[in-house]
Symmetry: D2
Subunit: 159 residues, 4 copies
């Protein structure tokens, strides 16, 4: 657990476990750069396989990174209300309802960092904002911004 994680160790563990099951993030060689209550950062290298016709990272991959950074976050119990985390059955799931992405600059760089932050954390609905930065020659450029809605599905346990 990094110093930036002031919550219980099992929350970070749970985020990392869920993250590991995301084949696409593995395929993109993405990794968690930061886990903290209400915030998650994902980092991934440039990969020619995921580019559009101009050689930049495809808008869909930009969305993938932003969506994952936002979605994983609620999963750690903050998006669905960090305070009530212990009340959430362990098999609850967080799904994207919708996301809206504005593309601000070409997604070119050696590496990318997606930042997801929970703005409003409700019982059912959470709203997140995301920012994607490209890192090139030591410089960062804001590539895209997202505003997204997540839903927390509390699965009924049949004992």
């Amino acid at each position: 657990m990094t110093p930036s994680s002031p919550f219980a160790p099992d929350v970070e563990q749970r985020v990392r476990a869920s993250f590991a099951r995301q084949e696409l993030i593995n395929t993109l060689n993405g990794e968690i750069a930061l886990v903290s209550p209400g915030e998650l950062h994902i980092s991934a290298p440039f990969d020619k396989r995921f580019t559009q016709q101009d050689g930049f990272l495809h808008a869909g991959i930009v969305t993938t990174l932003l969506d994952s950074a936002s979605r994983r976050d609620p999963a750690c119990g903050t998006g669905c209300g960090y305070a009530s985390y212990t009340l959430i059955p362990a098999n609850s799931r967080v799904l994207s309802v919708e996301s809206k992405v504005n593309l601000l600059n070409p997604a070119q760089g050696e590496r990318f960092r997606a930042e997801g932050r929970v703005v409003k954390s409700g019982k059912t609905i959470s709203v997140c904002e995301g920012r994607l930065f490209a890192l090139q020659k030591g410089q960062e450029t804001l590539v895209a911004m997202m505003q997204a809605t997540m839903i927390c599905i509390r699965e009924v346990q049949h004992n």
Copy 2:
């Protein structure tokens, strides 16, 4: 050229050439299913490498298919005004300004088809709508819908 393409052969050729340069679409094994003025369909198989934690196609890949179906379309000269297509310098480019995707059903299936349609085709800005369908055991399900904005950049030629 398919019977569904009532416009000049070089338009479809140009769409296919631009499509072929999209590494991500190649990586996804995507192919053009339909090209017609103002409409483009893309088809792609399920691929475990591009799934999220529940084994469904990742929202980012859903967005990739929808965005590509919408973006390629304007590139064929319809989104930026099909009537004025011959006036557009051959090196004009169509870029995504923003897109908004609602996820309606889990993206599970053997194959997916993204449909992009131009709703408003302006000189600079075009607005498209997209629908993604999952095909499973001969049945189609609407998986996601998109509303997106594209910009046509007319590059100045220095002769």
Copy 3:
């Protein structure tokens, strides 16, 4: 009840009663033009009080009409599942989670018609699309399009 309403009279009644409580729609002199399962049309006249700096209807009023056309619809029991309408407690409410509007043409005309349609009707979340048309000298122009998310809140009754 108009011939376009194939469902029980109390559904249309309920829509109209809820509509009547919307002060803003009254202020805009809006009226219901069509109620049918999964679809609602609202009509409103041009009003100088609600214009932006160029004399066109303000984007916020365009959104108001589209949002109302979409929101009222689920309220009639279709958005939250028409089939399960009788199961919904009478005091359930439909709220907008988010909406995204593209402005396609200037909102100028003598009258406006907003059409809202439910694309996906889920137990909790419904997704709607809307189209706003301006009517001028017998001609219709598509002014704006919306993609929106609604949530159905089932209020607990304490008897």
Copy 4:
């Protein structure tokens, strides 16, 4: 000119003049609370005429305030590039391409403040974010957030 306006007096003047021509903002009794490069705040009182069925400010009016806060901003020369402001013909116009609003809390309060900020200011396209706060009994609540795209139309002057 307020101390928060570090740019030329005619910029603020121009914003206020354009603002004054917005009938809807006048109808809402809206006023400019802050003008600074890349940022504009609008304040408006609660008004029963603009409510929805629960007595809260209607989502369309929430959008109106956010849209106006964002749109006026580029108009002051920052959205279309503050540095290049003197190069912009005085009759250029800023129009909304699209906006997406998430509704986070009921719009109830004595007064509302909409904050618009330019995140990316391009030659043609600008992207803004907005936040709407409700003020009630000395407390502020975040009611809604917006992510919007504006276009700067440089009108050709025929001399």
